[in-house]
Symmetry: C2
Subunit: 346 residues, 2 copies
């Protein structure tokens, strides 16, 4: 039967002009209460919905945000870092709370991003999510900046625009990890993860860790460091290299939980007990951290707050409001992998 109803259909049925319908539907106080209610009743009855394309076109605003999730090019195609998946969840919810729709797209870091969501008016702004190589990354951000695109990004800093970034206090997280490992009686450490300047988040974690150890008189030179991107298999391989190198350690701090899980797998294969022989500490608190056996002690990033902040700050940017808050404080989560008493419930 019905071709979709328009505001003209409602106007006709209500005996008012189409402009009045438009106002009434947006709850304009300008329009008489009776008229307003009558119009709204008819709209409901016809199951009328404002045509977003028409209203966006007219308003020059889409009430839509785009999320670009980019992955490390070396990662297995089908596997997305669970940490980002969890962020995706909280971003989606934050969008809903703010009356925004969310367009989602996965990109390879190496690609030319399809960052034209704002140019084509599909979205009012962009959220960038992913651990990436900072160097590659920077160019693309510069381009977005040049096009005056509204965007925020997780983790990596935008040159000259700290307000575009939302991130965890990674240094503090690393520090907490170091403290905990020290408190649980460990003295011989290794770090696994990429701590180069290409990975500013990981290297901040490393630095916090080192700074915590310094308080116990341990120097950076005493802490062997093995590179790994944020995957299970990279952690596994780095651990093998670490063990084969013959250094004697009793604790490993990993730049991410995914790495830590790979580390534990390697240790288990080699018959080394966690935490009795070697303690393992992760970072992120992805769901798998609690599934692991022993439960992985880690530094939690509050993804729920992060998603909220990402969306709110982007909206502020779009509306030319000042940004006040963009740091998330990490939290120590104690399970069993470092030998402290963990609560079995988690």
């Amino acid at each position: 039967m019905k071709d979709k109803a328009t505001s003209f259909d409602i106007a006709y049925l209500a005996g008012v002009s189409q402009s009045t319908v438009s106002r009434a539907l947006r709850d304009s106080p300008q329009v008489n209460k009776e008229t307003r209610e009558k119009v709204q009743a008819i709209a409901r009855q016809l199951n009328y919905k404002v045509d977003k394309n028409a209203s966006n076109l007219r308003k020059q605003r889409s009430s839509t945000l785009a999320l670009l999730l980019f992955e490390d090019p070396t990662t297995d195609e089908s596997l997305i870092n669970p940490f980002f998946l969890s962020m995706l969840g909280s971003i989606t919810r934050a969008c809903a709370r703010n009356g925004q729709d969310l367009l989602v797209s996965f990109q390879q870091l190496s690609d030319d991003w399809h960052a034209d969501y704002e140019d084509s008016k599909k979205a009012d702004g962009i959220i960038l999510l992913g651990y990436g190589d900072y160097v590659d990354y920077e160019e693309k951000l510069a381009k977005l900046l040049a096009q005056q695109t509204h965007f925020v990004c997780w983790g990596a800093e935008v040159l000259g625009h700290p307000e575009f970034t939302i991130r965890s206090n990674n240094w503090q997280g690393g520090y907490l990890a170091g403290e905990h490992l020290l408190n649980t009686g460990h003295r011989h450490f290794a770090f696994i993860g990429n701590a180069s300047e290409g990975s500013p988040e990981f290297s901040a974690r490393y630095q916090g860790f080192i700074d915590a150890l310094a308080k116990a008189g341990i120097t950076p030179q005493q802490v062997p460091h093995f590179d790994a991107i944020s995957t299970e298999s990279a952690g596994d391989q780095a651990t093998a290299a670490l063990l084969d190198s013959g250094v004697s350690i009793d604790a490993i701090f990993c730049a991410s939980d995914l790495i830590a899980i790979g580390v534990m797998r390697c240790l288990k294969r080699r018959g080394i007990n966690v935490p009795e022989q070697i303690a393992v500490m992760g970072f992120d608190d992805i769901p798998a951290a609690s599934f692991a056996s022993p439960g992985l002690s880690t530094i939690q990033q509050d993804t729920s707050k992060a998603g909220e902040l990402l969306v709110n700050n982007l909206l502020k940017l779009i509306n030319n409001q000042p940004i006040t808050d963009n740091l998330i404080e990490p939290k120590l989560v104690v399970r069993q992998s470092c030998g402290a008493a963990g609560n079995s419930a988690n």
Copy 2:
């Protein structure tokens, strides 16, 4: 400087009409090759992008699909089933391959869904994803049907419209699980999961399992069955109940991996060895299945193919094309939790 360029700006610079610009940009063969290239060059130079709101309005088509991910109302708010997260990934990619944008939204099953994406012209169709209670679910589907919304859904069947569903052959999956458990020498089974008619997917898995066992002369009455929704803690609790009931078993088939992980946690707490004393089998093959210790043997659902099918079939529905394929064949993944030789690489 620049307000965003429009097709009129390009027309002016190219010395042609705006209609010609529009045609040239869409690679219409109607327009002279030279003109076309000239127009396209200017567009590139101005960094021109077609305004989607305007073109959607005019074409009455959005080239956008909406994904509604709804969760079991009893599940922890922040935790989305990893299986669906993986589906989300493959759906996103399938959309990209088909030139569609993807709007994502999380909903509570109990809510009134915001399923008005198509009414408001924000999307051409909807993908429904989530394990839900079939009974609740059915009403909402009937409503979508009545509004002639284009949609496909995962798992649950739409009354009278089997072509709207894409699902795994759950019966076959359950059958494979039963066979494997039999082949690894087990004889005393339990099933954990909700096998009521409210969960058609789970009950099909149960049925396949029972049918496999029948070949070894085992009757349904010999297989105790404990209810659980698809979460770790539900699996844990159901296992406690199972053990406390005093029945003697040597294998548990779980309706999902999340349940299985909870089962293994409970067994470990009780000092029961997997697989030596009790074998555990999951369903889904979420990432945590391979992280678990021992590695969880399970039935894999091919999320990549599922995502592809969901998107392709929805597009076919929108374009009035016939749907030919909507079944995914599950696959046995052998790890260590059933006592068979698993490959340590996975």
